[in-house]
């Protein structure tokens, strides 16, 4: 005990401790960065108007402040928006160039369908077809006008629905014609003629409604609001194109909180806008969830059956040991390899064959012979099946042999033993495997990129159109959304907040699932710990 700490190797203990610290810090940093960047974005930030020394102006959200090495304010980054007027969203201004900086109450921020945000002041309203109370102050009049426009727009939307019903009907008839033409034979000509007769009124209806919808929309778009930027440049915009209008400098904290919740709701429920850099994530969330659910549908039964076979039915021997190691190792095979397998086997192999057998009339346009949610989920199922097998096997192996013997000695068949005893006992393990595999599947992107994920899917894989599940459709996915918006988008800087929010959402889903799996597993370990059988 007389030895010095250095001789005892305590400093090396510290070194190993530092390694652990680095590991934990890295994790905390990653989650922290995502949360800081993701959570804050929806909070309405105040709008600053800067008068510059050279007489110019700048208006927008202050996004960053750079300091010199001496700690003085060096320059400020403004998100100036108004992409249609200025071209760029962001602007750096030297602190020295700023004469005054103030935060006017009536500074308005507009979220728009196109060109990103607009920052400016309400100038005037030109209401052509909607009426609002002229006695209101201008800002309230704008809100009332927006409500009125929204109401009319919903009517047009319902018109659009019947247009899309017509369009589906036309597509159905067109495919039927193609099929008849492909099959040929007696009566095909008559059939085609009959179908074309059917097609004519639908097409007429489609054209008429379409034209009406377009006309009413154009009419509605003639209701405009004119805003001026800080320098006085005006921009006239259809009220319809304004998604959100707010005056952050005049908002109280509860109002901001409400605004925040509204944005979160939009995120979860709305479609994306502006090539995915704004708006909601609903299709991506839906695609991710449906993908994972479809995947579980394939991988859980397959994995459990394989594990039961290996653990309970197969004769233990060299072969089974080799198979077990092989299966275990498949969990370590790169996911891109699964992806390429999915492409080669499912998409081109199985999908191509299905097209030749069942949809020959649509060729060369592929139906199943191209990436789609079915193939992506099957590929993911293959990727996660080893996880389920390994975990289920472990759970079954952890059941003491005495349980099986006792059951058999009571006259139970092997299947009864399995069904009534082993599977219920192993259930937490199986569920852990299930949760782990869903966590892995939800976060996996590489194999999806080549088996059917797209940046913008025209329709969800599940809708009201017969047969409701459209397993051949392409889909959107949160993980791919991150990659696509963060790396393929034309304006990466402006898209960053959206990517952080998507990341936050994906991280929350995956880590949430993992924590569930960890908790389940720990509770299972406790159950057998210290029990002598």
């Amino acid at each position: 005990m007389g030895r010095k700490p250095i001789q005892r190797g305590e400093q090396l203990v510290w070194l190993t401790g530092a390694a652990l610290t680095v590991t934990l810090l890295a994790t905390v940093t990653l989650i922290g960065v995502v949360m800081v960047n993701g959570l804050g974005y929806f909070w309405p930030s105040t709008l600053a108007v800067a008068r510059l020394v050279d007489g110019g102006t700048a208006m927008g959200e202050i996004t960053q402040r750079d300091y010199t090495d001496e700690g003085d304010l060096w320059r400020i980054q403004f998100k100036v928006g108004n992409r249609d007027l200025y071209g760029a969203d962001f602007r750096w201004i030297d602190a020295a160039a700023i004469e005054t900086l103030n935060y006017p109450e009536d500074a308005a921020a507009l979220e728009r369908e196109e060109y990103g945000n607009f920052y400016g002041f309400l100038e005037r309203l030109d209401l052509a077809t909607v009426q609002v109370d002229a006695g209101l102050p201008p800002w309230e009049r704008l809100q009332a006008a927006r409500d009125a426009v929204e109401e009319r727009f919903e009517a047009i939307e319902s018109l659009n629905e019947s247009v899309s019903a017509d369009s589906h009907e036309m597509e159905r008839i067109r495919l039927a014609i193609l099929e008849l033409r492909y099959e040929g034979g007696a009566g095909a000509e008559d059939g085609i003629a009959r179908l074309e007769e059917q097609l004519a009124p639908v097409r007429a209806d489609f054209d008429a409604r379409n034209a009406e919808a377009a006309a009413r929309l154009a009419e509605l778009r003639s209701n405009t609001a004119t805003f001026a930027d800080a320098a006085g440049r005006t921009k006239e915009m259809p009220i319809l194109s304004l998604v959100r209008t707010y005056r952050p400098n005049a908002m109280s904290v509860p109002a901001k909180a409400l605004f925040y919740l509204g944005k979160v709701w939009e995120l979860l429920s709305a479609n994306p806008r502006e090539s995915n850099t704004e708006g909601g994530l609903f299709p991506a969330i839906f695609g991710t969830v449906m993908l994972v659910m479809l995947m579980s549908l394939f991988c859980i039964p397959l994995g459990v059956v394989a594990a039961v076979y290996l653990q309970e039915y197969a004769r233990e021997g060299l072969l089974v040991r080799m198979v077990r190691i092989a299966v275990f190792n498949l969990a370590g095979v790169p996911s891109i390899v699964y992806g390429i397998f999915g492409l080669g086997f499912f998409v081109y192999g199985v999908g191509g064959t299905i097209d030749e057998l069942f949809f020959p009339e649509r060729l060369p346009n592929p139906t199943f012979g191209t990436g789609g949610i079915l193939w992506a989920s099957l590929t993911l199922a293959l990727l996660t099946v080893p996880v389920v097998i390994v975990v289920t096997e472990e759970a079954l192996a952890a059941i003491p042999g005495g349980i099986r013997e006792a059951s058999l000695s009571l006259g139970a068949t092997r299947f009864q033993t399995l069904w009534r005893l082993l599977l219920p006992i192993a259930a937490p393990g199986i569920i852990t495997g299930f949760v782990l595999s869903t966590a892995r599947a939800a976060g996996e992107v590489a194999p999806l990129m080549i088996t059917g994920v797209v940046k913008l899917a025209p329709a969800l894989p599940l809708d009201g159109e017969f047969p409701f599940f459209h397993l051949d459709r392409k889909f959107m996915h949160l993980g791919f959304h991150i990659y696509d918006v963060g790396f393929q988008s034309p304006n990466v800087e402006a898209a960053k907040p959206m990517v952080f929010i998507t990341t936050l959402l994906l991280l929350a889903i995956v880590i949430g699932l993992s924590i569930v799996a960890i908790v389940l597993r720990n509770s299972m370990q406790k159950r057998y710990a210290g029990k002598a059988f």
Binding site: L410, G411, L421
Partner: protein, 257 residues
């Protein structure tokens, strides 16, 4: 070897040999086991007594490499003939294991498990059987108020009695006990031994034990096995007082084993 004359034996074992792969674990064993009596198999570790016990309800079938020669008849019927179903046989020949192995279910579900898998769905029949089995296993009074609780909460001795109750709930003819008390303390052991004494009124009990006093206390007949061979088989009192074989005497007097 002089075997005792047993009228109406339940098992007739003739020339039984058992091999694990190439190695013989039992060699040319022949003995008759009396009905509604307690028979004990004794012998040093690895002598084959547990293996012999497990041949009686074909639990050895579960091991792939086992091969059996000779014949075992139960009530005159060859149990290894292809027509006999092992599952059917196990319903008639129950078993209690060395390590108590209740299922991770409630006490009640443990007891009625055998009946449930046999297809009994009638609630009152199950209740009745559970009470009968637990009473027979001398456990009813201790657990009747917590039948729905997990069996894993019982003490070791209770768990083993629960396993006995589970075995007798299906109403077998024979109960095989493979060192049932080896994991228990002396008090619990005594209770099990009392129970065995009670059980032989209704069941044939065959017990494997390495505890010679236990065999002397509970068994009517005792068979001594050594290195896979049956050395001596007789009424317990004879085995323990005047064994015919030198090896039996050496074992009983503790010179080896």
């Amino acid at each position: 070897m002089n075997a005792p004359q047993i009228a109406d034996p339940i098992f007739q074992i003739e020339g039984l040999s058992l091999f694990y792969g190439e190695a013989a674990a039992l060699k040319e064993i022949g003995l008759h086991i009396p009905r509604r009596q307690v028979t004990a198999f004794i012998g040093p570790s690895g002598c084959g007594k547990s293996t012999l016990l497990r041949t009686l309800n074909r639990m050895n079938d579960l091991i792939d490499t086992v091969r059996i020669e000779g014949s075992i008849r139960m009530d005159g019927e060859e149990i290894y003939s292809p027509e006999v179903d092992a599952i059917e046989l196990r319903r008639r020949v129950g078993m209690v294991f060395q390590a108590y192995n209740p299922f991770p279910k409630s006490i009640y579900e443990n007891v009625v498990f055998g009946l449930r898998i046999a297809g009994v769905r009638n609630k009152s029949a199950l209740d009745e059987a559970a009470e009968r089995a637990l009473t027979a296993a001398a456990l009813w009074e201790e657990v009747k108020d917590r039948l729905r609780e997990s069996a894993l909460g019982l003490s070791g001795g209770q768990m083993q009695r629960l396993c006995i109750a589970r075995a007798i709930a299906v109403n077998p003819e024979v109960i095989l006990m493979d060192e049932p008390c080896s994991a228990l303390d002396p008090t619990a052991t005594a209770r099990i031994e009392d129970l065995i004494f009670e059980l032989k009124k209704d069941f044939t009990v065959i017990i494997v034990t390495h505890n010679l006093q236990q065999a002397a206390r509970v068994a009517d007949y005792t068979a001594f096995l050594y290195l896979g061979s049956l050395i001596e088989y007789d009424v317990t009192s004879i085995i323990f007082s005047r064994p015919r074989e030198k090896r039996t005497e050496d074992y009983i007097t503790g010179r080896f084993g």
